[in-house]
């Protein structure tokens, strides 16, 4: 079992957990993920490791309650424990000193981007960060990102915070401006956002890495459920990725594949809602 050491609610649907997982903490690098199973009857889902503390033997996960498993996880508190955590999985992000880089995070993707940003800053890069969300609540880790960036841009779709618009707006400005010679872009967020970033940077010929959140079962290269098409070839996101050259990713295919189980997800969600409601009534 993997106990929850601390929990912080970052936004109504987003929570930050620190878990005891000493073996994972010891080896984890920026870009790695874990596969977790919350309960005995649960499914296995991948979650990016946001931070780790090898001395304390802890890892940090930031989770947005979207599907049944993430909702269930977000309902857990200090004192609860996750049934299974395995990792660190996937290839670490290749970190080098490019000179100037842009780190682009959308929604909860900013959590996954944060350790990479930190590593890029530590490697000596001049870091421009762009973080966005649909609305103010979904812009997370702004202070943390500021601490490891030289300049930060914040966008919201509805204009409730930062500049109104999407993350590609400031990105375009940065890429057009000769004063800001960006050599590499790291983008993590919803698939349509990463696709949009890839389309923008392709025009400027700037190398871009994205992290693909495909559906996984084992996360160790065994099932092939996370297969993605990269430059026309089949790759497994869990062992060949999770990061790939954005200009080679078939985003449309992955968007369709990630919808494979929406009907099942609906059934699971309704069951969870009933369970949580009835347990609350019992508690009363």
């Amino acid at each position: 079992m993997f106990p929850i050491i601390s929990k912080e609610v970052l936004a109504p649907t987003i929570s930050k957990f620190v878990l005891k997982a000493p073996l994972v903490a010891r080896k984890r690098k920026a870009g790695n993920f874990v596969i977790v199973r919350v309960i005995e009857t649960g499914e296995r889902i991948p979650l990016t490791i946001v931070d780790s503390n090898p001395t304390e033997g802890t890892i940090t996960l930031i989770v947005q309650a979207i599907g049944k498993t993430t909702k269930l996880l977000c309902s857990k508190n200090v004192g609860d424990a996750l049934t299974d955590v395995v990792g660190p999985l996937g290839n670490p992000t290749p970190i080098e000193n490019h000179g100037a880089v842009a780190c682009v995070g959308g929604g909860v993707g900013t959590a996954e981007l944060f350790p990479i940003t930190k590593a890029l800053k530590d490697a000596g890069n001049f870091v421009y960060s762009i973080i966005g969300g649909r609305t103010k609540d979904l812009v997370i880790l702004e202070q943390e990102m500021r601490a490891c960036s030289d300049q930060v841009f914040v966008t919201t779709d509805d204009g409730s915070y930062g500049q109104k618009g999407i993350v590609t707006d400031p990105l375009k400005q940065l890429l057009t401006n000769p004063q800001t010679p960006i050599k590499a872009v790291y983008a993590i967020g919803p698939l349509p956002m990463m696709k949009a970033v890839a389309n923008v940077t392709k025009g400027f010929g700037v190398h871009t890495l994205v992290s693909l959140n495909a559906i996984m079962v084992d996360g160790t290269g065994m099932c092939g459920g996370c297969r993605v098409t990269i430059d026309g070839k089949m790759k497994f996101a869990c062992v060949d990725g999770p990061e790939f050259d954005a200009h080679q990713v078939d985003f449309d295919e992955l968007i369709l594949r990630n919808r494979s189980y929406v009907d099942f997800e609906k059934v699971s969600n309704e069951r969870l809602l009933n369970d949580l409601t009835s347990s609350r009534e019992v508690a009363r």
Partner: protein, 490 residues
């Protein structure tokens, strides 16, 4: 030796081979309960009297792990079933698994003297009977470990190779830790072989018995990522390592349409059901897509397991698509027979050319072409050749590809100096030693794709070699071990 058999040899030959009691086909496709209930005590006793007690024990030679078959049958004749299973366990620690999944027809039973003129002794059914009897009557006692040793051995992977190696080394007195990447123990026995061929209860019981030998099993530990082999040797204090990580990476055919929703590798399909219990959705959270028509591509045991699982999940038409003829199918005869009884359609000499999908990216058909057999290929089997213009479409909603697996590349990529051959298979010598001293490998990782029993054979062989290696490394060891010498020559 004095015989306990009441029958004269000439009488034994007249006794018909006993059959298993099986769940009727129409009933069993509605559930995941075991197909075969094995033989009862009466049938087992009758079957045991058929053994000719040959002086030259060809059956024992035919067994990859060398079970003393004649002796265990003698125990059955004395009604000492616990004694029989103890005799088996001297050579093979997992009898209730082997009694179920071993291809006896190609091994011990293939060489049985009785089989030359009559049907061979049903050795597999007898093995299963005594193992099940021991379980039902709670007769198991762990073997006594005579000498405890200080040295630690790491076993990577808890499949048949790893578990066998662990059991052997633990009985020699070593401190053994098994590392498993998944959350449950058993490897392919857990995620690959369905419940209706190997009940979870049996697997849990056998792994418990390995724990009773003092073996520590750590789940959720992916060797290569959570810790590397070199860390095991340099920091964790392991004297030797056995790699039994299997062949878990699925192949795909590389035909158009494989990214459509409803296309699974057999590995994923079986893992969702066997490991994650997707057949019990929504009580269990892992989903699985099903359709009225399901096509499974391939002709091996994995294809059989997948197509029979699809039938049990409610497919009206569960079709096996295989490009060669029935004769060339690598699956066990018994499995093909069971599948046909269950209404599985065998579409032979048929090769898929593309998977077709709807606008919303869901599978709605598979285009196939008819094949004919040409000249023999490198495998000695006649090569299937496409018949021009024979393409046609079968409406299906699910396509499952069971076209082979390769070793998972993580260990090879994270262990410098570990020599690999074709398709990432780890190279070993006849003692299962790899190119790195102290590192041994076996099962599908070194074979590319074989059977449970051959994995067990390798695990057993490696345990003996590990013992020899560790002893030879001791300061007072007289001469360099032949294992270490051989290892450097790989």
């Amino acid at each position: 030796m004095t015989t306990l058999n009441p029958l004269k040899p000439s009488e034994r030959m007249k006794v018909p081979r006993q059959h298993s009691i099986e769940q009727p086909a129409l009933e069993r496709v509605q559930n995941f309960t075991e197909v075969s209930f094995g033989v009862d005590e009466e049938r087992a006793m009758t079957e045991a009297t058929r053994c000719l007690e040959c002086k030259n024990q060809v059956c024992m030679e035919g067994c990859p792990v060398g079970i003393d078959i004649r002796s265990f049958i003698q125990f059955i004749l004395q009604k000492d079933y616990a004694g029989a299973v103890r005799k088996i366990r001297e050579a093979n620690y997992l009898p209730s698994i082997c009694g179920r999944v071993c291809p006896q027809e190609e091994q011990c039973e293939a060489v049985c003297t009785l089989g030359k003129k009559h049907m061979p002794v049903a050795i597999g059914k007898l093995e299963r009977f005594v193992a099940d009897y021991e379980l039902e009557h709670n007769l198991f006692t762990p073997p006594v470990i005579k000498e405890h040793r200080e040295e630690k051995v790491a076993i990577v992977g808890s499949g048949p190779a790893g578990l066998t190696c662990a059991a052997e080394l633990a009985q020699m007195g070593y401190k053994v830790t098994v590392f498993e990447a998944l959350h449950a123990v058993g490897g392919v026995l857990r995620y690959g072989i369905p419940e209706f061929r190997l009940p979870r209860k049996i697997l849990d019981m056998e792994t418990d018995r390995i724990r009773q030998l003092g073996v520590d099993i750590q789940t959720n530990f992916l060797v290569g990522r959570t810790a590397t082999i070199d860390e095991f040797i340099e920091e964790w204090g392991f004297s030797a390592v056995f790699l039994g990580t299997g062949a878990g990476t699925p192949n795909f055919m590389g035909i158009p349409g494989e990214s459509l929703t409803g296309v699974y590798s057999a590995n994923e399909f079986l893992t969702r059901v066997n490991l994650m219990k997707a057949n019990s959705f929504p009580e269990y959270d892992t989903p699985i897509r099903m359709g009225s028509n399901v096509a499974v591509i391939g002709g091996g045991n994995t294809a059989m397991d997948a197509v029979r699982t699809a039938k049990r999940l409610g497919a009206e038409r569960a079709i096996l698509v295989y490009r060669r003829s029935r004769q060339e199918m690598p699956a066990r005869q018994e499995e093909i027979h069971h599948a046909e009884e269950e209404g599985i359609e065998l579409l032979l000499l048929t090769n898929p050319v593309q998977i077709l999908g709807s606008e919303n990216h869901f599978v709605n058909g598979i285009e196939c072409q008819r094949m004919e057999l040409g000249e023999p290929d490198e495998s000695g089997r006649r090569k299937p050749v496409a018949i021009k213009g024979s393409e046609y479409m079968i409406p299906v909603q699910i396509v499952i590809e069971a076209v082979g697996q390769q070793p998972n590349p993580i260990i090879q990529a994270t262990t410098p100096g570990l020599m690999t051959g074709k398709k990432g298979v780890v190279e070993t010598n006849e003692k299962q030693a790899t190119s790195r001293p102290g590192i041994f490998a076996g099962g599908d990782l070194s074979r590319g794709g074989a059977t449970v029993i051959l994995a067990m054979r390798d695990g057993k062989q490696a345990a003996a070699a590990i013992h020899e290696y560790i002893q030879s490394k001791k300061p007072n060891a007289a001469v360099a071990s032949p294992v270490t010498e051989a290892a450097t020559q790989v």
